[in-house]
Point group: C2
Chain length 204, copies 2
Amino acid sequence: MPATLPVSPLSETAVDHPQEPRTRDPDQLLRLAQDEFIRRWGEMGATWGINRTMAEIHALCYITATPQCTDDVMQRLNISRGNASMNLRALCDWGIIRRLHRRGERREYFESLSDVWEIFSIIAAERKRREMDPVLETIKRCQQMLDESSLGKAAARQPQVQATRERLANMEEFMSVTNKIFQQFVSNARSGLNRVVKVLLKAL
Amino acid sequence: MPATLPVSPLSETAVDHPQEPRTRDPDQLLRLAQDEFIRRWGEMGATWGINRTMAEIHALCYITATPQCTDDVMQRLNISRGNASMNLRALCDWGIIRRLHRRGERREYFESLSDVWEIFSIIAAERKRREMDPVLETIKRCQQMLDESSLGKAAARQPQVQATRERLANMEEFMSVTNKIFQQFVSNARSGLNRVVKVLLKAL
DNA sequence: GTAGAATTTCAATAAATTCTGAAACAACGG
DNA sequence: CCGTTGTTTCAGAATTTATTGAAATTCTAC
């Protein structure tokens, strides 16, 4: 890497101790602020089971509010073309960024959805479908396995069996309610989820 | 390992295609049901950024509703002593399982909290603290960097800067509201969160 | 069509995470 | 004290996940 880059790729400064900006140049400050956000967003994503790079790419598209092409992403995040391509596609599959074609240009650009609530509701819906629903199914199957009709009356009354059945039931109730809340978020996202959430907060 | 174990460790059957139980022996069926739950819970944990084994250990303690010692965990999940010890400690640190001493016994046992709502609220509180709060801080710092007082009036009016400021503001609002909801869950967990959530669902 | 710019794919590799096992440590009864 | 039983720690091994880079493919302007 050259000693000084005109505009360096995402700063390596630790998020917890960001160095004070040494410059008043507005462009650089803007970039520093964006980089800090991108870095932190990537970290958070990582702890929530989302590939750090994917989270960073989305953060970049979101925070700049400007369509980014593959090369923009590669250069800014300092990643390979293949990596950029695969994660951009994954983000498109999720539906939280969109492809953008420009007249007379071969190159494709990507832009983030602008509505945070919509972004969140898409993610929530998908994770519910992929991760909560299968657990609920499993719980139901486990409950069947411990039914009187599977075990017989005597066995079904064993304390061990009763205890497990109760725990399964509690967990099922919890997950059902959680699922419903997710559902509500999702179905309300388009029409002012904002307001809906305020209602919710008053109710609590 | 002996050729046949009286009760085998956690079955390796894929969760998606569990084999039909071949036995009507209630003890084995109970164990099969528990194993299926444990396995699925571990998978879900993994996609949410929680170590699969840690999630499985917790699932084991929860679903059996019976205090488990280190050797129980090792044998049932087929993991090493070190692994069991470290994950049990981590779960204790989170506060979702508890150590249990028995009179005249050296060995320590571990039991899960029984209230699912409490378990969830502990996890939510901790993740909020560790992962949401730092992002909010970062957003605020980024906003400061793009203040008029940092950039000067002219620069602060550049469209690029304005756009980033708006995105930061939207994200901040979203995260603040999410944080408040988390907060509410947590502070209500002890006294019938259940009811609270029902209120919430009506409000939506 | 076709040139060539842009994208996708994927085997190889690198990085990060998780797990093991054995040694060190602690607690207790005698 | 010492022997026994049980727990913790942690360096290295194993496993999983992420990334690269170059070849194959696709697309579009002409």
